[in-house]
Symmetry: C2
Amino acid sequence: MIKELVVKNRSYRRFDMNVSISGEILRDLVDLARLSATGGNKQALKFLLSNTPEMNRKIFPQLSWAAYLKDWPGPAEDERPAAYIVILGDTGISNTFGCDHGIAAQSILLGSVEKGFGGCMIASINRPALKKELGIADHLEILLVIALGKPAEIVILESVAPGGDIKYWRDEQGRHHVPKRSLQDIIIS
Amino acid sequence: MIKELVVKNRSYRRFDMNVSISGEILRDLVDLARLSATGGNKQALKFLLSNTPEMNRKIFPQLSWAAYLKDWPGPAEDERPAAYIVILGDTGISNTFGCDHGIAAQSILLGSVEKGFGGCMIASINRPALKKELGIADHLEILLVIALGKPAEIVILESVAPGGDIKYWRDEQGRHHVPKRSLQDIIIS
């Protein structure tokens, strides 16, 4: 069951622009992060929500998409995310955030898949520009942006041999292929 | 449903010593991590599994437990974890691991809760000692240890006011109380 969600939870980068995500759904997703573990229970993460065309337009240009797809500059106008959750670290609470944003982001994305949405964690961000565009306070550090929407692409998991190439790629039909290492290759005995 | 798992997935530090965890279950849990996102799809994490008394005894003394419980040195002999998953970063693949271990750990813990187990992510580790005890190769960096078992404690979520104390505590019945910030307190509008 959780396995099903994890398998379904691919990194989606193209979305159905006709499907929006309400503020209530975004808050429900953040609630999953709120109830997840944080280092020393500090709960130093903050969450900025965006689901309006105006705000989304400020976020999109500050993100880098799919580094391995050299010929693809990111989703076209009509396949962009319906919403974003920007995960921030509150330096007024802690100076280090460990892997808290990873824990939070995984809860959020598993929750979004369950609701029929999906998305992508993006760490390649023009942070100074995004801070300025969104008027984010100085004491909040941008850790991760989660792009969300109704996925409009097919993602196919593949096996990769030890030492093989893990770069994802698109075939002629536009399907996105993701090579994954085997269990045997990642377990140390 | 995912909400139910997230709520049930508390940080458990005391376990029923009579319940073991098989190698097969540990591999199933790592499979959830394997199928979860990693930065640039690099899949630079490796997983070391332990569920034998001998190996568990090498891991336990290298971990720090529940920093806020000053009078509690960690689980007693008869309430220790049945198993551990040590998450390692393979520096032969990448020099940075971002928040990949957080993503992986959350998948593993949600999976373990679904199977009737539970556990705790531990980042406060005597890394040099653990590396030596387990004979971990030089190119593998210890990122996180997940302690696992059948939980044998009650964990109670509580609300904390903005700026309030987030330190967890134990009451006279030994129940573990965890103050959580409100949704309103963590969402930036």
